[in-house]
């Protein structure tokens, strides 16, 4: 249930950047490897953003899948949760190359 703290952090950032304008949408970018943030964030948002300029804001999640790159053959792939082997050459010499995002990307204001 870390979603409540996460929601509070998002709200603080958003209000700071909105500069007294009404917020319509918050655009979040969440990588698969960064954190589990589910739809309960919107639920918490509707509670804690009440009586702020962000009260009616919708949260938009852009989900970035986890990405790995094979050091052996250069293949780029999205790993499953069973193994991290390269699907092209079956090498285990792979490295994380994407999916760490965890940010407020932008806000839409009136």
């Amino acid at each position: 249930m870390h979603e409540l703290s996460v929601t509070q952090s998002i709200l603080d950032i958003v209000l700071q950047h909105a500069k007294e304008r009404k917020i319509q949408q918050v655009n979040l970018v969440i990588g698969q490897f960064s954190s589990i943030v589910d739809d309960s964030v919107q639920f918490y948002w509707d509670i804690i953003a009440k009586e702020t300029l962000a009260a009616e804001a919708k949260l938009h999640f852009e989900r970035i899948p986890g990405e790995m790159t094979c050091s052996n053959c250069g293949h780029v792939f999205h790993p499953g949760s069973e193994d991290f082997l390269c699907p092209s050459c079956e090498s285990s010499a792979v490295r994380v190359s994407g999916g760490r995002e965890f940010q407020v990307d932008s806000i839409d204001v009136e």
Partner: protein
């Protein structure tokens, strides 16, 4: 893609770029905690694990082994942790119990408050027992030098694949309960392969708090790390 303005709404909508890490406020306080530890010449360790992995056992064995080598303070964040802060205090070891208010993790603010209650001038090492949980604590940096994850044999060999975030954010890994290897299906090679992908070259310590096997390697390494970081020649 949006070019900065969205013309389809009846009201004028402006897209304001933010590009800020969601937990940047926590990270800033964590950085402050780190600076304080550095200034006070104290090495900080944050222990994270799932419930039952043996955080408390490892902590107790570690404290025992370091007695007389480093002056240690304890921050107890796990409501289920069994380090009795009164008992630790009675043994001359400063300890602080953090009330997480039902949260699934410690955060940098709780850490800052706990640090303010410890006599940092008289310590070399602060060990934090985080809340038992493999998801949340990874995101909330505390400002310690070392983030330690404790895995254990009975949990299964698939944990790095199921909780990549936790395994990517650590600087050391203990694999606890290796005395159970003959009795539990656990493919060490499969486990370590996942770890190596997520965290290449990570310092790994297979050990057993039950038999004591592997404990010296861990505690010697920890003392070495602490000395390298904090104690001036």
């Amino acid at each position: 893609m949006c070019d900065g303005h969205n013309h389809t709404h009846s009201h004028t909508t402006t897209r304001v770029p933010v590009v800020e890490n969601i937990l940047s406020a926590n990270d800033r306080i964590a950085q402050r905690n780190h600076s304080l530890l550095h200034q006070k010449n104290v090495y900080g360790v944050n222990i994270m694990a799932s419930p039952g992995a043996g955080k408390t056992s490892v902590l107790l064995k570690t404290l025992e082994a370091l007695k007389g080598r480093l002056r240690i303070g304890v921050i107890e964040g796990d409501p289920a942790g069994s380090i009795d802060t009164d008992r630790a205090l009675a043994a001359g070891m400063p300890a602080v119990q953090v009330n997480t208010g039902g949260e699934c993790h410690l955060d940098a603010v709780m850490m800052e408050d706990a640090l303010s209650q410890l006599p940092l001038d008289d310590l070399d090492l602060v060990v934090v027992e985080n809340v038992g949980n493999l998801i949340c604590p990874a995101n909330f940096r505390l400002g310690t030098h070392l983030n330690l994850v404790i895995a254990s044999i009975p949990e299964g060999d698939d944990k790095p694949y199921k909780y990549p975030g936790m395994y990517m954010g650590m600087q050391a890994l203990i694999i606890n309960k290796i005395d159970l290897l003959p009795y539990v299906p656990f493919d060490m090679e499969y486990f370590q392969q996942g770890v190596e992908v997520l965290n290449p070259g990570i310092a790994t310590f297979p050990l057993s708090c039950q038999t004591g096997e592997g404990l010296d390697a861990w505690t010697d390494w920890l003392v070495e790390q602490a000395h390298a970081e904090i104690i001036p020649e």
